[in-house]
Amino acid sequence: MSENPQTDNSPAPSRRSLIGWGGAGLALGAVAAGGAVAMTRGGDDVDTVAAEAGAAIEFHGPHQAGISTPVQDRLHFAAFDVKTEDRAEFVQMLKDWTAAARRMTGGQAVGDGAFGGLAEAPPDDTGEAVGLKPSRLTLTIGFGPSLFQKFGLADQQPDALVELPHFAGDALDRNRSGGDLCVQACADDPQVAVHAIRNLARIGFGKVVIKWSQLGFGKTSSTTPEEQTPRNLMGFKDGTRNIAGTETDRLKKFVWVDEKAGPDWMVGGSYLVARRIRMHIETWDRTSLQEQEDIFGRDKGEGAPVGKAKERDEPFLKAMKPDAHVRLAHPTANHGSTILRRGYSFTDGTDGLGRLEAGLFFLAYQKDVREGFIRIQRNLATDALNEYIQHVGSAVFAVPPGVRDKDDWWGRTLFSKEA
């Protein structure tokens, strides 16, 4: 349904109509956004229709969209390095980015659009998303630890934002790791996500440069338990117990930074860990079904934990092998720690040896990186799955709170003196 280009009763306007109708388009955008907001509160039928038609997700709010938002199908993630040393110039870019993000997530073109402007100048918008629906695009910005070494921000770096330690088995590629800032673009249409990153990169030229980026498809985690749990490229359901967008209490406990956790500028924000996890697909595919199921601690068909019948049955960890993935990753094995995952599969063609260059682009949000990803990943050192995967890229970011309204901008709480 989400790829259905036109339905007569579609509640979501196309980008073209939004661009062309001016005021009317804005009104329609507001309606679509309203529907999406209602949807995140845990949808009735009307809201589901809005989601399937590729509606707009509200850009403004106490938290950035793209974290507890129902996971979209596609990803374009980009890490940037800051080139400018001029704080005012960087802040202006953040404002320009915010304005562009506000428009793009609303299904509108950047600036004066992709056509109809001056013949002698390149258009403001690159144009490849014209005619496409907003496609539930969310854009989420994060600041890496290295950013705090710039612009005199060292004393603003949150304690919870630490560089990740070296984990057993890591084979990190510097060219796929780190970054002063990141933008996560999620959408149901890959072209909409790519369009967003491309336009932000363009606005950023001279101020920031893309350090690395990653495309993802086939979400591997769901924040909507009423949907089927998606499968990863190993063919297993992943993230059955992921924190749902509707679980206010668990989000509050594990994901959103509060006044107590601080610092002030991060309240309402979260911390993001991104890991590019290469899968040794070919050797995995030669592994017996029994071993595959033992490694995960779930069966492959239903996804039920060992000894249980249904996917969502409470796992009995002791029934699993001591090195089973679910057993080691489960909150009870990690002092109750849990994280919100919204990772994606990736396949970047094949490597020089003809092996699929594929795996999981893992994205995890948590209140504190030390108690979230680091604790869990350390516990996974003996994971039987490690024989079939390798972490090849890594980055961590502080994801500031949401943009409140049309006058607010990404990073204001950190960069604005009034904050």
Binding site: D112, L118, E120, A121, F205, G206, K207, V209
Partner: protein
């Protein structure tokens, strides 16, 4: 600024629509025939049917009654080309059209396609007057001089290079190679506007068209580059190629000053020079045997900077923030490039195969940082 411009466009469109309505009954009659100018060219004359015509859509109906192949130009007073038609054979007719704003123009016929031509002054009247900024006319004229100077200065350097090739002096030829290309690289978009010269002098092997034979059809600098650095031998074929290069460059030298240059083509040409850097030089693809990519890189940036400097005064009025940004980015890229040469007066740059991936990324980032604002220069010099 933009809103004002749009409303002006709308107003023009409205006028045009009214004109179309009132004029529709006269279709095919006087109203349209007014705008056809018959140009009769001979070996010694250039006669025009009218010297005054209404501004707007104009058609030149050209008949060559002479014995030589001719070409006909409609020119602005500063010799910028409004429209042109080349290769009009003896005894043939050609038609060429243009949108002409009110103002003074010149029609020139060039029997034998040589020289300044036989000229007639004409005038377009009524309609919207072509708004012309004399500073831009001066910029175009100065840039025209610059491209000619670059071609003139290139020839002796290219001859030195060609001589070394013909003498079989590998070392001297290698040394003379990169300097012989600087003038060309500074003004490449103008040279490319002729279409036929660039594929002869600056094509790389993989740029040959389908059906072309590298052994026969691949000529120019890069073909010799391969001989000098990869094959490391100079034969009779290389001597032929050296002669051919000089012939082709002389063709460029005689034509470059007549290129169609406008303020916007200067601005976009500057951006195209940076595009050349982005796609060919930062990858090391351009000079894959000699690794002299940074020399081309520098020359491309210099050419772009020349256009920019000439257009700057006008751009500054229309978009001061853009000029501030461009000044900053040109300075940044120049500083970065200086890291790769010991002497700032020489063009001895680091061999590009010695430039690591991280440094190449830094150069690429600098090109993007400059090219993005540079793409907005044309809009800033459009006469509003």
């Amino acid at each position: 600024m933009r809103a004002v411009r749009l409303s002006a466009v709308t107003a023009t469109a409205t006028v045009a629509a009214l004109t179309a309505l009132t004029g529709c009954t006269e279709k095919g009659g006087d109203a349209s025939s007014d705008r056809v100018i018959n140009v009769t060219a001979t070996d010694s004359k250039c006669e025009v049917s009218t010297k005054e015509f209404p501004a707007g859509h104009v058609e030149l109906a050209i008949e060559n009654k002479g014995s030589k192949v001719t070409e006909v130009y409609l020119l602005f007073p500063d010799d910028r080309i409004v429209t042109e038609r080349e290769n009009i054979g003896a005894g043939t007719k050609q038609r060429v059209t243009a949108e002409v704003k009110a103002g003074d123009y010149t029609i020139a016929c060039k029997p034998g396609m040589k020289g300044d031509g036989i000229r007639q002054d004409v005038k377009a009247t009524g309609g919207t007057a072509a708004k012309r900024d004399p500073r831009l006319d001066k910029a175009v004229a100065a840039y025209r001089t610059y491209v000619q100077e670059q071609a003139d200065a290139t020839l002796p350097l290219a001859e030195t290079f060609a001589k070394a090739v013909k003498d079989g002096d590998l070392k001297a030829a290698q040394k003379a190679y990169a300097p012989s290309r600087i003038g060309w690289e500074r003004t490449e978009p103008v040279a490319e506007s002729f279409g036929d010269i660039d594929p002869k002098v600056d094509v790389r092997e993989d740029g040959l068209e389908e059906g072309q034979d590298p052994a026969k059809d691949w000529t120019g600098w890069h073909r010799l580059e391969k001989s000098l650095w990869k094959d490391k031998k100079l034969t009779a074929r290389e001597s032929e190629l050296a002669d051919q290069l000089i012939t082709d460059l002389k063709n460029w030298q005689t034509r470059v000053g007549k290129a169609n240059i406008t303020p916007t083509s200067m601005a976009n040409g500057a951006k195209e020079l940076l595009d050349e850097v982005a796609t060919g030089k930062v990858t090391g693809e351009e000079e894959r045997y000699s690794h002299t990519d940074l020399v081309d890189f520098k020359a491309n940036v210099e050419g772009a900077e020349k256009s920019y400097e000439l257009l700057k005064a006008v751009a500054k009025e229309n978009d001061p923030a853009l000029v501030t940004e461009l000044d900053k980015q040109f300075a940044a890229i120049d500083t970065l490039l200086d890291k790769y040469r010991a002497d700032k007066t020489s063009y001895d740059f680091t061999s590009y195969d010695k430039v690591g991936d991280a440094d190449r990324k830094e150069l690429s980032d600098a090109v993007n940082a400059l090219a993005e604002p540079l793409s907005k220069l044309a809009a800033a010099v459009v006469v509003k």
